[in-house]
């Protein structure tokens, strides 16, 4: 950024964006220009041109499907899943890493997708609740949550289940106390905790990775 040139202008970011856009009709002639941008230039949609140019390519495998995407740097994995891929099973609770509703697996590790920038998952394998089981064949943890009534409103449930699966696979589900400690990143405002612990302990008792 050129500080001095922008110092007197209240909308310096806007100014540099506009300067960039002035050249975009020229850029539109190049083959590498995203089609969305070319279309937007033709329609005079400045803002859309800017967004299209600010996007970066992202290759990521989501629930076993290889995806070639284009995302803005500021887009979180959570918003990518929900807004761009329509995978709305992953919930937005607090959006600040304090509730765990957005928990997904990245390369087998449970993470808060609200604090994960989508671009940092380049080359990774992401699993969401949609990729865990299917309507025809539920995952054992999903079955256990139903059996033990591990939810009331259900909003935290996808995050709880993703976290619970990882909790067992990490080897941190050896006692109810350990489960409570290692599931503390998933808040349930309905207070289904005791049933959630029972569900996890039952799945754990059957042994093995899940």
């Amino acid at each position: 950024m050129d500080n001095e040139n922008n110092a007197g202008e209240p909308e310096s970011t806007g100014a540099s964006r506009r300067a960039f856009l002035k050249q975009s009709s020229v850029l539109a002639a190049f083959a590498l220009t995203p089609p969305v941008a070319v279309h937007a230039v033709e329609k005079g949609l400045d803002e859309k041109v800017a967004v299209a140019f600010e996007q970066q390519p992202l290759r990521v495998e989501i629930n076993g499907v290889a995806q070639q995407l284009s995302v803005e740097p500021r887009v979180t994995l959570l918003d990518l899943l929900r807004e761009q891929l329509n995978l709305t099973g992953t919930k937005k609770g607090c959006d600040h890493g304090q509730c765990g509703a957005c928990t997904v697996h990245v390369d087998g590790q449970r993470v808060n997708s609200c604090l994960t920038l989508a671009l940092t998952t380049e080359g990774s394998k992401v699993t969401t609740i949609e990729g865990l089981g299917s309507v025809e064949k539920l995952h054992p943890m999903q079955e256990a949550f139903i059996k033990h009534d591990g939810f009331q409103c259900g909003y935290c449930t996808p995050g709880q289940i993703m976290s619970a699966v990882a909790c067992i696979n990490e080897g941190h589900a050896n006692s109810p106390d350990e489960v409570r400690e290692y599931m503390s990143g998933n808040i349930c405002r309905c207070g289904a905790y005791s049933n959630i612990v029972e569900a996890i302990m039952e799945v754990k008792s059957k042994g093995g990775r899940i």
């Binding site: 950024m1 449970r110 994960t116 940092t120």
Partner: protein, 339 residues
């Protein structure tokens, strides 16, 4: 979130170069604090330099101890056999912090770089001396909210009782850093002017007149690894964390203890406190007092009294003046198995 540029760095040198050449460029590691700060517009970056692909995540034995790569995840360090065997205090402290998900994301370097959770720092409509100028966008260079310290005379239950200044009474929120301070770690960094090593005690700083500076890193410097030297204090160790709920909460007060005992005599001891200062608070006076003495409640009480010299409350946090010495005594009793 405000828009920003995004660059992926393939080497530490490239990362340092990218962050050095523009103000408002930040290293992005696990992102568990930085992304939150960006969402709250406390940090408004021009560019994030993704360092997640740098080969800095190894944990290895060296001739003098263990070297932990800056990009090693908190969960990987906590569960590592070498760490559990030689530095159980570090493992316990890590597991006391955040949640399992966050520990899977957060890195060792990022944990050291995390900012205070003082609510005034996070709310840019409130006075705070710790927030620096806006780094990007229309208000670049302008103060990010009013100056002053909202916590002094305000809501300060979580705040510091040691090493405060008129400008800031925030605390450093890390548990891991309490253990690393107690264990005499060294931080290895690289930067525009080359490599250097910083003793852990000198890495974080007190607020003084410049509370916007949490640490002594120079602009563009990147943490590469942390060295933890061998000691004989692995057998008797404990990390006591007192907080508002049993898990997944920041410390009101925490105490890290590691002791080498022969019979009941303390040969060597490491003591540090969290939740009480702008940096991990090493209890050097108490350590000196206890060395060579018996592990008894009387000695622990005297050590706690020595440790509390100079402590000062600010109203709502005055309960820490009682909680802290009690926590020191309890942590010592648990660590030395003399409860």
């Amino acid at each position: 979130m405000n828009p920003f540029q995004f660059t992926r760095a393939n080497t530490p040198q490239a990362a340092v170069s990218a962050v050095s050449k523009e103000t408002g460029a930040y290293f992005l590691a696990g992102g568990t604090n930085l992304i939150d700060l960006i969402k709250r517009e406390v940090v408004i970056p021009e560019r994030l330099v993704d360092i997640n692909h740098l080969p800095l995540a190894t944990i290895e034995e060296t001739t003098s101890g263990i070297r932990i790569g800056a990009m090693a995840k908190n969960s990987a360090v906590a569960d590592h056999e070498l760490i559990k065997k030689h530095f159980p205090l570090l493992s316990m402290a890590l597991n006391a912090g955040a949640s399992a998900q966050l520990r899977n994301m957060a890195t060792v370097g990022g944990n050291m770089m995390q900012r205070t959770r003082c609510p005034y720092f996070y709310d840019h409509s409130m006075p705070c001396n710790k927030r620096g100028p806006v780094q990007s966008g229309p208000s670049k260079g302008q103060p990010n909210g009013p100056a002053g310290c909202g916590a002094i005379g305000g809501v300060n239950r979580m705040h510091a009782i040691f090493g405060t200044s008129e400008k800031c009474i925030a605390v450093h929120p890390s548990d891991m850093c309490i253990a690393l301070a107690a264990l005499d770690a060294t931080v290895n960094v690289t930067g525009p002017k080359g490599n250097r090593s910083i003793p852990f005690a000198e890495f974080h700083r007190l607020p003084g007149d410049a509370p916007q500076k949490d640490n002594t890193l120079l602009p563009g410097e990147l943490i590469l690894s942390v060295d933890v030297p061998k000691n004989e204090c692995a057998k008797y160790a404990h990390y006591l964390k007192v907080r508002d709920r049993a898990s997944y909460a920041f410390a009101l007060v925490s105490v890290g203890v590691a002791v080498d005992m022969k019979g009941k005599t303390i040969q060597d001891i490491r003591l540090a406190m969290g939740g009480v200062a702008h940096k991990p608070w090493r209890l050097a006076e108490a350590e000196r007092y206890l060395k060579g003495k018996e592990a008894t409640i009387e000695n622990f009480k005297q050590a706690a009294t020595l440790a509390m010299q100079g402590a000062k409350g600010y109203g709502e946090n005055e309960f820490k003046l009682t909680l802290a010495p009690n926590s020191i005594i309890e942590a010592l009793q648990i660590a030395t198995q003399t409860v």
